[in-house]
Structure formats: C-alpha cells, structure tokens
C-alpha cells in the first residue's frame, strides 16, 4: 500500500486549476444582475447633485404619473416607518434617504420602482427637488475651522465636525526617545481618497413573500451573515425569516462590506409591493456614494541614532470620513489598525494620535484591499523609513536591516502592542535585492545620471496583521470576529463543505477543498464547496481583510480533524483493534503492527452510515467555529525599479520584484494571482488612481474617464519570489495574503521615483505620483504635496 500523493489528490501545495472557472469561462456565472425572478420590478435611485444643502421640497407627482411606475419612495416614506436613518458599522448613523438635508454629492434622495429599469430612470429625472445651499467643506481642515457649518446637525452632542480623537502608544517613552536622538526625521503625507471599484457594481434583489413571511435578498455582499443581522435589527424582522444570498460576486475589495441605502430601500420596496425588486447601481452611483478608502493626512517624525537605529516614532493623522462615519472596522480601534505600523522593526517607543472629521463627501472609509487602515500604516512606515535613510545618508536597504526584528526574536511585542510571531525579514529583503541586481545598481544609477537619465529603486518591506480576530480584541458592532466551517462526508466518501466566508474571486471553491484533501486524504474534486447563503452556511463574518484563509480556512481544518477523530474510532471498530493501535496516513487508517491492514477514509465514511460501533452516533459530519489565537503576520519585500523622464515627469516601471512570505501556500497558483492583483492596485494608487473634489463638492472621479484604473497596457510585469515561514498558530501554517501587495506595494513605487530624483533635493511627492507632480519636483527641487489647498480646486 503506497501512501497517497498529496499533490495528485489536489491537497496542500497543488496549483490546482480552479473549479469556479468552469462556469465563468462559459459565461455561466450567476451574479446578482443575472438573476431574474417572476414579476420582478426595477429600482433606480435619485441622487443629490449638490454636496451640502437643506431640502426645501421634493415633488414626486410627475414621477408617480408616469406609466409603468409602481412606487416612489422618499425619506418621508422611510421616516414614517422609522427607517430614514440606519446604524453604520462604526456606531454612527447614516441617512438611508435624505429627509432634512443632503450632506454629500451623490447622496440618496428618492427611489423609483417601475416595470423596467429605463422607466425607473426616467421617473427619477421627473422628480423635482428644491435645495437651499449650505457652505461646503471638502477637506477636514475646512471642516475644523472655527464656526464651520455643522454637517451632522441631526446629532445631539455633536457641537462641531470632529468625530473622534484617539491615541495609542507610549507618549512619555516616545518623548524620551526623541530627547536622546542624534537626528529627527520628519515627513508629511496625504494618502488620497481612492475607490475599490470592483468591475461589478453593487446591487440587490429583495423578494418578500407575504404568504411565508420570508424575505430573501440576493445581494453583492462580502459578509452575508452580518447583513442578515443588520437587516434583522434595522427592519425588525425575525432573523430566521431573512435569507441573504450572496451569489457570484464580481470583485469586492472591501467595497461590498457595508450596508448601503440601495439595499435597504429595495427591501422596503419589496415588502410594500410584495414583489421582487431589483436594484443595480450604475458606475457613477458606485463611485460617488459607496465605500471609498484612505483620504488621510499623515505627519510624523522619527528619532534616529547616527548608526540608523530607530529610537522612536510619532504619528499624527487626520482622517476625512465624509458625511457619515461608516468605516467597516473592529469596534475597538477608531482609526483601524493604523497602529500596526512599524511592526517589522524593533522600535522601543511609539505614539500615535488620530482625529476623525466629517466633511461633505461620500462616507465609507472601507478597507480597500486592506485590513482596516493597514495600507495607510505601511505606506507611512515605508515612506518614513525612506526619508530617514535620506536624512542619515544611509543606504535604504541597510537602514531596514539594522532595524528589522531578528528571526530569533519571536514572539515580538511591537511598539504599539501587537504580538508578531514569525518571519525571516532579512532573508526576504536580500532575496529581492539580489533578484533586482541591487549590488550593481548604485553604479548604474550614477552612470545613468551622467547621461541625463534618472533611475531609481524603491524598497518597501513590511509585516502586516491579517485575519481578524481573535475575539478578545476584534468585533464588528459587538459581533466577535471568528469564522466557521461545516463539513459533511457522504456515505460514498464525497463531501460537502460550507463556510461563513464568501469568495469574490479568491477561489474558495478550489482552495477550501484542498484543505479537506490535506486533512482527510479525500481527493479535492470529491469536495463541493458552498458559500454565501445564510440559510445553509454556518454563521461567519465574511471575506475581507485577508481573513478567509487565516480564520475560515482554519475552521475547515478543525472541522476535518473532528471528522478524522470520529473516523478513527470507526476504523478501530472495523479493524477490530483498540483506537490506540490505529495510525493515520493521508487518506487511510492502519494497524500499527500490521500496516497492510487498513481502512480508507472512504470506507470509514461508508461504515459511519452502515456499520458504526455500538453506541456511536451515526453519520460523519462536523462543524467548527474557529476563534484564532492571534492575527497572522505575513511579510513582504517589494522592490521597484523605475526610470523617470526628466523632460516630462513620466515614469516607467522597469522591473517589479515581489518576495512574499505568507506561510504555507495552499494553492500557489492562486496565491500568486492574489499577489499580482494586489501589485496592480498598488501601482494604480501610486500612479493614477485618486478621487478629488472641487470647492463645491463635485466629485472629480465619478466615472472611469476621471477615475483612472490601469489597463493591461500601463500595468507593469511582475517577478514573484517566495519564502515560507509557517504561521505557528494556524492549523496548516498559512497566513493571509490577499491584500499584502496592495498594502506594501505603493511605497515601493513612490520610493523608487523619489530615489531617482532625491539628488535634486526632493524627498516627497504625494500620491498619485502624476507626471505633472514629478515634473514640478524636478524643476523646483522641492517636495510636491497633494494636500489642500493645492488640490481642492480640482
């Protein structure tokens, strides 16, 4: 009897081709907009054209009169049912449809439900709204001015536009560190507003059945169970009567975590009309009203010793949250995990202050391919370290090496209190440097400069916290951040697996089966994976913040191990030996003294239904809820080489090397796909992707003409390398990976451009590093800021 080949059965480490592709490549995906229900009506939303105004009147009579219109809903309709406002994921409230005033351009004012979407759109245009304009504040500095108009005059105890002040770290210790410093390096950055923009926009089909009292909602959501809980609370419907189905999702990146007014209104419309109501957002609606990301002003300083040792760090940030504080983030941390900054460096003391401010811009502040502000944290960290290297006249690779947490220093408590557990930071960096030819680069750079060419290499190294919880520290609205898996082994040895996560392109249907294959020796193709239906899937917190493999993936292992434990008892019974004499190898139990006598997992499964030992509960199913002991801490070194054209400021990526250590890779092909996707979004943010506003609060970036996403033509090629340091607490040693490259990547590109022009005296160019900004920096030898007032006039 030869042992099973794990790769052959599609287990851990197999670059198994994806199961879900079979339908996607045939055009047989099942996205929300692909679903048609009998008698379905269509909803369209009317949005505010102005950013801040009192609503004087709304006249819907013309809309009502149009043929094919079934219902017009305004804030008044909702207020009569106590639904005009809804809670956000950050303990704030958000208007569903505006009643008193509009607070940002694009805010939802009314909805029309009609026989077809064209009629619904026409009818929206027939609604007449009279506005009385109010002063508009498009950045937090305006909103913090004395006497600034109160955006949230709906809230008691909200005397101004400040949402919170928050601090973390060791203020006194940091003070002392700065007193001892040989040199203090400073930096000021604006991380511009960005939007995740999955190619599929948001949408829902609400279907309330009066006869059964059941509400079924098909929805573009990354977290169906959280939505079910929210609907139960907001609409006061019994939770068992609510079924949220997230069918195939056309990309999420955080955009599909929050609860949006469109979902809520479509649900109410279906309840009122007793018909299915479909709402599909158009792209402009998506860009101007749904969860944006970033929009944060960061300044800080670093206390340094001459030899490059970092003694302490201060960070100070102001976050522009828009009109409603609706970040999806763990309850405890007002500014997300911004304080995960500097986790890969051994720094004695650090302190961070954060302030959140309301402005007349769309709410959201979601984690766009990011665990709750980790992107801003790592960008600040790597730009700060780069600046320190320039100020010290030190090699940027060397300053990182000097300060890295050493391989034998784990577990390591970071200056902000996180516990990191594993990594080989120097090895990753050196591998990347060797790949890009760093040894000879400085000479190459020097020679190129003599010929008028500007070359630069940018390094970004970071470890980031992925896979929230644990439940001690992480909850959303009080719900603890664990996850779940339910595994059923049928009598023929085939299996059905369900989890509380929801894939939006990550390939769960493929990789989850591989975990089962690894744990039980069942061929991956014998395991069907289902997700996204709250009536069938066990409760879970959904897929975002790179948490699925760390949390749901671990739950799958635990459920499979429960199955294995029971199957072992059955095997002992079949082999007529005691359980202690039974050994396990992949897919098979055998008698220790007689290895040729064994029972396969499939045979044990059959016996669980046909020949179980006396007194044993029949069947072979298990459910596991997994509360991780800690976050997982992948590490990455991203190194970009660029050439800047001194005549135009245009920069090209010559090479991009990525070294990722995300622990054990379940499906290397899929992991690499995630890394390349992340690198592309990193490049996008560094080079072109941002949303700004003019002084009236008009969103500049409300369509793909203004909001630039990179195409295949601009996107550089990527060279990927791997290092594997297993996660010590994850059942199969895996760490999160989905967001790493989007988090760590931007600083590599920006650092590369700065490296090319720093000899001119330039230390910072804010993102996006547009050619005109680079050109200005080259011509003036000065930093170029993207912060207001420079860019507020569009």
């Amino acid at each position: 009897m030869t042992a099973l080949d794990e790769i052959k059965i599609g287990g851990l480490g197999a670059s198994r081709r994806r199961v879900e592709d079979n339908r996607f490549i045939r055009g047989k995906g099942n996205y929300v907009d692909d679903i048609t229900l009998p008698g379905m009506l269509h909803m369209e939303i009317l949005r505010s054209p102005v950013a801040h105004a009192r609503i004087v009147s709304i006249d819907t009579s013309k809309a009502w009169a149009m043929p094919g219109v079934r219902l017009v809903i305004t804030g008044e309709t909702l207020a009569a049912r106590n639904l005009a406002w809804m809670p956000t994921l950050s303990y704030d409230t958000q208007a569903v449809l505006a009643t008193d005033k509009v607070r940002f351009q694009g805010q939802e004012i009314a909805a029309v439900i009609a026989d077809d979407p064209y009629t619904a759109k026409d009818a929206c245009e027939a609604i007449v709204v009279e506005y009385e304009p109010l002063p508009v504040m498009v950045n937090p500095y305006q909103a913090m001015e004395d006497g600034a108009e109160r955006i949230r005059d709906d809230k008691e105890n909200q005397p101004d536009n400040v949402i919170y002040d928050w601090e973390v770290g060791d203020r006194d210790g940091t003070e002392r560190a700065f007193a001892e410093a040989d040199l203090v390096s400073k930096i000021q950055l604006h991380y511009p507003r960005s939007h995740p923009s999955p190619i599929e926009t948001c949408g829902s089909i609400a279907d309330f059945n009066r006869a059964t009292q059941k509400l079924t909602v098909y929805m573009t959501t990354q977290a169906p169970h959280i939505i079910r809980a929210a609907v139960a609370m907001v609409a006061e419907l019994p939770e068992q009567m609510i079924r949220i189905i997230a069918p195939d999702i056309g990309g999420g990146f955080g955009n599909k975590v929050p609860v949006y007014p469109g979902y809520v209104v479509s649900i109410l419309a279906s309840i009122l009309l007793e018909k299915p109501v479909k709402w599909i957002e158009d792209r402009t609606g998506n860009l101007i009203s749904t969860g944006f990301a970033r929009d944060i002003y960061l300044e800080g300083e670093m206390a340094l010793r001459k030899d490059g040792k970092i003694l302490g760090v201060r960070m100070n940030c102001i976050a522009d949250h828009g009109a409603f504080f609706s970040d999806a983030q763990p309850s405890k941390f007002k500014i997300g995990l911004l304080h995960s900054a500097f986790a890969c460096y051994d720094i004695p003391a650090a302190h961070l202050t954060a302030r959140g401010v309301y402005t007349n811009k769309a709410p959201g502040g979601v984690a766009y391919r990011c665990s709750f502000r980790v992107t801003e944290a790592m960008f600040f960290q790597e730009r700060m370290v780069e600046t320190a290297a320039i100020d010290l006249g030190m090699d940027p690779a060397e300053i990182r090496r000097v300060n890295f947490v050493r391989d034998d220093d784990f577990p390591h408590r970071t200056a902000f209190g996180f516990l990191t557990d594993s990594g080989q930071y120097t090895k990753c960096l050196d591998l990347g440097l060797e790949a890009i030819g760093y040894d000879t680069f400085r000479q190459e750079q020097e020679e190129a400069r003599k010929r008028g060419r500007l070359l630069g290499i940018g390094i970004s190294t970071m470890t980031e916290p992925l896979g929230a919880g644990n439940s001690r520290e992480f909850d959303i609205l009080g719900i603890k951040m664990f996850d779940s898996a339910e595994l059923r082994i049928h009598m023929t040895g085939k299996a059905l697996l369900r989890t509380g996560a929801r894939s939006q392109g990550q390939g769960h249907e493929t990789t989850w089966a591989q975990i089962v294959a690894h744990e039980l020796g069942l061929p991956a193709e014998d395991v069907t994976v289902e997700e996204g239906d709250t009536d069938t899937a066990p409760f879970g917190m959904g897929t975002y913040a790179s948490r699925s493999t760390p949390v749901a993936g671990a739950a799958i292992s635990m459920a499979a191990r429960k199955i294995r434990a029971k199957a072992r008892k059955i095997a002992a019974h079949l082999l007529e030996v005691s359980e202690e004499d039974v050994e396990w190898e992949l897919g098979r139990f055998y008698v220790r003294s007689r290895p040729e006598q064994g029972v396969t997992i499939q045979e044990a499964a059959m016996a669980a239904y046909s020949n179980m030992p006396d007194g044993m509960e029949p069947g072979l199913e298990a459910i596991a809820y997994y509360d991780p002991p800690n976050l997982t801490w992948p590490f990455a070194a991203y190194i970009a080489k660029v050439e800047v054209d001194p005549e135009t400021g245009v920069w090209d990526v010559l090479r991009m090397v990525a070294v990722d250590d995300c622990g054990v890779r379940i499906n290397p092909m899929i992991v690499e796909g995630q890394i390349m996707g992340g690198l592309t979004e990193a490049y996008a943010m560094a080079s072109m992707q941002y949303i700004t506003f003019d002084a009236e609060g008009n969103c500049i970036g409300s369509n793909f003409t203004d909001y630039l996403l990179p195409t295949a033509w601009e996107t550089p090629g990527f060279e990927l390398h791997e290092v594997v340091t297993p996660c010590p607490h994850h059942p199969i040693g895996a760490k999160g990976i989905g967001e790493c490259a989007a988090v760590g990547g931007p600083a590599a590109f920006v650092n590369a451009v700065i490296d090319a022009v720093k000899h001119l005296g330039v230390k910072n160019i804010d993102m996006p590093v547009l050619p005109d900004r680079v050109y200005e920096a080259i011509k003036t030898g000065k930093d170029v800021s993207g912060a207001p007032p420079v860019r507020t006039d569009g």
């Binding site: 081709r17 190619i199 056309g250 792209r283 796909g673 390349m676 592309t680 793909f704 195409t711 996107t715």
Partner: protein, 180 residues
Amino acid sequence: MGSLFEVVPADTQDEVPRRRVTVTVNGTPMSAVIETRLLLVHLLRQAFKLTGTHMGCDTTHCGACTVLFDGKPVKSCTMLAVQADGHEITTVEGLAGPSELHPIQEGFKEEHGLQCGFCTPGMMLSAKALLDRNPDPDEDEIRWALSGNLCRCTGYQNIVKSVQWAARKMNPQQGQEVSE
C-alpha cells in the same frame, strides 16, 4: 412573451417608438420587438437571456460588455440594439459548443487568467478578435489589444499568458508547444 399575445400593464401608452430587430446571435437568428432606445447589452442580457455579457460601467470604459459585432469587438453598452439589426453578434456563450471549450477559454483556466470572472467574457472576446487577425501576437500586441478591457483582480499578467496559451494551442507550429 408568447407569440399570440403580450401582457402589458393596463396603463401602457403606445406612443413609445418600437421596432423589430433581427440579430444573428452565436449563429442563430433571434428577433425581438424593442423600444428603439434599448441598448444592445440589454437586448442580449434581458431579452435573449444571455447573461454572460456583463456591464461594469455604462460609459465604454470597462469592456465587460464586449461582444463581437461581425467579428469585431464592440462595447455593447454603447451601441443601440437597432444598430445590430441584420448583423452577427458573438457572445461568450457562442465561443464554443456546450461540451467543448474554445482554446481561449482553456487558456484562461490553465493560466489562472481570471479571479472573480466578471471581466472574463469581455476579455476573452477581445482576445478572440486579436487572435483571429493576428494568430501569433507578442506580449505588447496582446496588452494593447486588451487595453479596452479593465480587470481589477488579476493584474493582467496571467491574462496575457492565457492568450499566449491559446495562441500556441491554436497554432502549434508557431512558438513553442503547449505544455499541459
């Protein structure tokens, strides 16, 4: 809608201009009476129930709605259905028969050229138009041909490889053999 009747809401007014269009979709002539303002993408998705053609932007940027119009890639969100009257349209559902796969479809699966799959039908049709006129494109030619199709998931590198895989399979003489 049956052929004998069409149930309409009681308050329907008749003045909306309508026209009959006949389009050959994936080789089969299909007909519908439509409002003249109906977009081609909606004719395909809603009238003909071919939901493989997606919509991601409605402004001719994302390419999720790409179909072949007499063999040329067009964005069906920016074309009226009446413009397609008498023409031939190929959608993702027509790339290959139900049991077999087109080499481009195989290539996307083999080279992990898709993640969420939302851009994929449009991407594959743009790739088909390219390979139909240039069976052995280099990387730049592929990237340029696909630059009207946005993908937020993959970073394009594997999409390029997918198209190369398909090119090799379709023309085994050119380039290297397909490794499977």
